[in-house]
């Protein structure tokens, strides 16, 4: 006979896990072995924001965009261009966000003509067009040479030029983004969006404006992407067409799919996976690109729901098996 376990009142396992994670994130500069790894952590966080933005479309709207790096690039280039033209950081950031979201509006109007495979192809084309403009429109983008930034903004008067200070800025932005996505997913609009993902025809028959719902999802995605673009360019202090090409769009898609599309933690885990392989593993394994590709193919075929839901599922399976064994053992005792 197994004794019933008493849970401490008010504390679920999940809440404890989140508290631990938050504590770990908040203290990263203290336990990470060196500035390089603090920087990697910053990268993980703003790429996570990028992946969260893409996930709004891929995971919650069911629309796979293969041009999202283009949108990140627009915000990044806008920041760089404004700064180069002599404007201050606050104006540059605001302009980048406005231009980024406005570009997304155009992107959405063009790509929402289709769904499914058609959507993938239109967004691939749009991403290529953006890349082509970044590469060729030298008067604005400086072409292949890119735009260099000089320095970072001073939010509330604090300088964020060190790895640690930038990390905390990124952490705050990341937590805000997570909160925003969580609120959205739980809202009526979020539920409606997921409805259009699963049964668009039925949603239309129930009185929903499917196109408009998808459009607003795109705008939300665009905002998150633009924010990550600003973070990206301030981190690297540089923007070039390479950050905007098909490979970059494929990488962020990889982050979403590998972590688990349509989940809150999936994009974060996926971002961590890709950034760690690119930054850390690449130091040990030269063929990390092939590794990334192989992981991607393996996940799509073997664990299509992604690492986060897949791991949870396997964990639950193992837990159940373990309990069943324990139960059998207990029964077997004389």
């Amino acid at each position: 006979m197994s004794a019933a376990r008493k849970r401490p009142a008010g504390l679920s396992g999940r809440a404890v896990a989140y508290a631990i994670a938050l504590a770990a994130l908040a203290t990263v500069p203290y336990w990470m072995p060196g500035e390089y790894y603090i920087n990697v952590s910053s990268q993980i966080l703003f790429y996570a924001v990028f992946a969260l933005g893409l996930n709004v479309l891929v995971g919650y709207a069911g629309l796979v965009s293969l041009g999202h790096a283009g949108l990140l690039g627009i915000a990044a280039y806008a920041t760089g261009y404004m700064l180069e033209s002599g404007y201050g950081h606050p104006l540059a950031i605001v302009a980048a966000l406005v231009i980024g979201v406005a570009s997304m509006a155009l992107y959405a109007v063009l790509s929402l003509r289709a769904t499914g495979i058609g959507f993938i192809m239109i967004t691939l084309a749009l991403g290529e067009i953006i890349w082509g403009l970044c590469y060729r429109w030298i008067s604005i983008t400086n072409g292949d040479n890119g735009i260099n930034l000089h320095g970072r903004p001073h939010p509330f008067g604090f300088a964020i030029n060190t790895a640690t200070s930038f990390y905390y800025t990124t952490l705050v932005v990341f937590l805000l983004a997570m909160a925003a996505v969580t609120v959205f997913v739980r809202s009526p609009l979020g539920a409606a969006l997921m409805g259009t993902r699963d049964q668009p025809r039925r949603m239309n028959a129930l009185g929903y404006h499917v196109w408009a719902i998808r459009f607003w999802a795109c705008m939300f995605s665009g905002l998150l992407t633009a924010v990550s673009g600003v973070m990206f360019v301030y981190y690297t202090q540089f923007i070039s067409p390479q950050a905007v090409d098909l490979t970059a769009s494929a990488e962020v898609l990889l982050m979403v799919i590998s972590g688990g599309a349509g989940t809150l933690l999936g994009p974060v885990v996926g971002a961590a996976l890709v950034v760690v392989v690119k930054s850390v593993v690449s130091g040990f394994i030269e063929r990390w690109n092939m590794l990334l590709g192989a992981i991607f193919v393996a996940i799509v075929i073997l664990m299509p729901e992604g690492l986060v839901p897949g791991t949870v599922r396997l964990w639950r399976l193992a837990w159940r098996r373990l309990n069943a064994q324990r139960g059998a053992k207990a029964e077997a005792k004389p």
Binding site: G132, L246, G293
Partner: protein, 290 residues
């Protein structure tokens, strides 16, 4: 005047090359309903293999055409493996299949980097086709004209395959209505392997044929892939004629665009594709809407 004529000839040559690339893409898209994102990588792989055989491997120097054929066959077999062992794990899930082709593209890109390094490889124009033909004041490279001839020959061959053979009839049936084709007894999954393999081989062949003109270098894969996409969307999925006409149009737009509007050349290139997807999604000659 000469400038425009040369530009035109180059455009048609490029169009021919694009046709060799896009024909396979169009067949795969038509039959399997997926845009094969590995297609550019197969083009590049064929170019690298061909370049290696031409440039000498293990002391053996292959004739250009033999090398091209061997490369095409090797990549065709590779394509069959991809379809049989990876894509077939995901029947009826076009989205997942597209993602797998994307992942494979990454792997091939890194493989090529590992084996052949980062420097571009130049492939010499095959002997017998070096040199120029003179028509009055105009000078055309032989090889460019040869590429056009090859493209036309392959187009004819494909047309004969699709129109006159049993396999072709089955492919056309599969493109028009895959469910019905199954009902009628056509082994559609086997057809998938054959068509994917054929598409891969064509792409690889295009890669090595194009190598004397374009060279072979990392990044070639993702440069050619969008072009194949544009051609097939413009021309229409599953239509050989569409691929042919689409290749010519895109070849012209690409070359003239680069020459006349360099800053907007990519925009100009993709504009027809966008317009088509928005106003006539099945393309000029397409059999279905993607």
């Amino acid at each position: 005047m000469t400038f425009w004529l040369l530009l035109t000839v180059n455009s048609i040559t490029f169009g021919g090359l694009l046709f060799l690339l896009a024909a396979g893409f169009s067949l795969i898209f038509g039959l399997m309903r997926i845009p094969n994102l590995t297609h550019g990588s197969l083009f590049m792989l064929g170019a690298y293999f061909g370049a290696t055989f031409v440039g000498g491997m293990l002391g053996l120097y292959f004739n250009f055409w033999v090398a091209a054929l061997i490369a095409a066959v090797m990549v065709a077999l590779f394509g069959a493996v991809i379809e049989r062992f990876l894509l077939r794990q995901l029947p009826g899930q076009p989205l997942a299949q597209v993602l797998v082709t994307l992942g494979i593209a990454f792997m091939i890109a890194d493989f090529c980097l590992m084996v052949w390094g980062g420097d571009p490889i130049n492939v010499a124009t095959p002997s017998g086709l070096t040199g120029f033909i003179r028509l009055g004041p105009l000078v055309f490279p032989y090889y460019r004209l040869a590429v056009i001839a090859i493209a036309v020959a392959v187009a004819l061959g494909l047309w004969l395959l699709l129109d006159r053979t049993r396999l072709g009839a089955m492919i056309r049936a599969g493109v028009d209505d895959p469910d019905m084709a199954r009902v009628v007894g056509i082994r559609v999954s086997q057809l998938f392997t054959i068509v994917f393999s054929l598409g891969a081989g064509l792409a690889a062949f295009a890669g090595i044929i194009g190598a004397p003109i374009l060279s072979v270098y990392p990044g070639l894969d993702f440069q050619m892939l969008p072009l194949a996409l544009v051609v097939v969307i413009l021309g229409g999925s599953g239509s050989l004629l569409g691929s042919f006409i689409g290749s010519l149009i895109i070849g012209v737009i690409y070359n003239f665009g680069q020459a006349l509007l360099p800053e907007l050349s990519y925009f100009v290139l993709f504009l027809p594709m966008l317009l088509v997807l928005i106003f006539r999604p099945q393309g000029l000659f397409g059999r279905f809407v993607p």
